[in-house]
Amino acid sequence: MKTRDDIRDDLPLYALDGLDAEDRAAVEAALAGDAELARELREWREVVGLLALDAPNAAPPDLKDQLLARVRGAAAPAPAPVAGRVARRRLGGWTAALAAAAAAVFAIATYREIGHRAELARARQTLAGLQEGLRATQHTLETVNATLAQREDDVNALRLALAQAEATLAVLQQPNLQMVALRETADAPPAAGHVLLSPPSGKALFYAFDLPPVPPNKVYELWWITEKDGPVRAAVFRPDARGVGRVEATVPAGAGALQAAAVTVERAGGVPKPEGPMVLLGQVKS
């Protein structure tokens, strides 16, 4: 649980959009109803806003005309009627009749053109609105997708951690739990490990520490050294970036008493009997 001081420490990172999902959620929860924190956040946001002025000056093309054209295109009203411009001179006889007919045809054509122009302006306005809506939706969608991907990663990491914790607990809750400590062998680099054994259930949990990484074509393999069958393969694993290896295994049945546990370096996928160098070994106390 974060204290208010922790949240205050996180405010500059929050203003920068630099927090991960969990920390971000903690800040947002703390901000609700805390006017002082909100004031501080506003100040940090001002600092962040000013960072834009550090960007190297760059001469843009003349975008103002394009911007204003877009504004006018979106708000263009229907053109004013121009039918009144039709000639109104009075003419006599056939000339007048022909002129009137021509004027009527012109007026109809003009009226239709005005209608088309108005329709076109409305369509352009609608199109501009739709395009802007689409851009805004795309922007929102990209943001939501990025957030969703982050949350999925968080959930998957939590699920893995939970499954491992449950497996650990299942072994730890067994009766007559026995621990075998493993140390590096004479020629191996310094490392350590331990096996938690539950002979009644046959469940075992192995942890190794400070193991160096192995190349992609190699793995570490855990072995049970038994009274009757000698080395029996238990599991293969790779250590994480901190050198920690963790693997669940089953104690073999019918192989006689368990005498020791060992770890060797083997080909990727593991081998039925140990071939590679042994790096960890621990005797089982009877």
Partner: protein, 190 residues
């Protein structure tokens, strides 16, 4: 004697009111004042002049369309404008998939001559911001730049720089503290 500089447009409230009334002149004035900054920011983030043009236009267009949503209690109008631009530019880079790797400039390399058309107050503010950035160590500048220009979280920055998470977090906090102190005269938050 330099005149007092602030982080707000003096007539900010009037400009917002005019934008809400759909007065083109207000938008034109705002563009005259901040168009260059918005473009420069978008160009810095995307490294692509065409994308920077589009982002600049879309930023002012969004401001025009959504002026009703501006809330002065949450920050200044220029801040809002630059936040929109930054967000759009970072989204554009993410959508493109191939992020342009950040190259952090040494502020001492930035030796620009202000153009006659540049707003004098903006030039002065830019100078203060660059002086403030120059107070940061190279490591601090890199961490802040990765967060600001690439939109990376502190854990992503730690991964990028191959450094412990706590170190990166502390570095950004300290850098932001230095910037806040140095930029104090420009801040308007009471």
């Amino acid at each position: 004697m330099p005149r007092a500089v602030t982080n707000d447009v003096p007539e900010s409230a009037d400009v917002v009111a005019a934008l809400r009334r759909k007065e083109e002149q207000a938008l034109a004035q705002l563009h005259d004042r901040y168009g260059r900054v918005v473009y420069a920011l978008a160009l810095r983030i995307t490294g692509d002049a065409g994308a920077a043009e589009e982002i600049s236009l879309d930023t002012f267009w969004q401001l025009w369309q959504q002026a009703d949503r501006f809330d002065g209690s949450q920050g200044s109008l220029p801040n809002w404008l630059l936040t929109i631009a930054r967000s759009r530019a970072i989204d554009r880079v993410r959508a493109r998939g191939a992020r342009k790797r950040l190259q952090v400039e040494d502020p001492s390399d930035v030796n620009e001559v202000a153009r006659p058309e540049d707003d004098a107050e903006l030039v002065e503010r830019r100078g203060l911001v660059r002086d403030a950035m120059a107070q940061l160590s190279a490591d601090q500048r890199t961490a802040v730049a990765l967060a600001y220009y690439e939109g990376l979280s502190h854990s992503q920055i730690a991964e990028r720089l191959q450094e412990p998470l706590g170190t990166v977090k502390t570095r950004i906090r300290q850098a932001m503290g230095v910037l806040r102190r140095a930029l104090g005269p420009l801040l308007t938050t009471p």
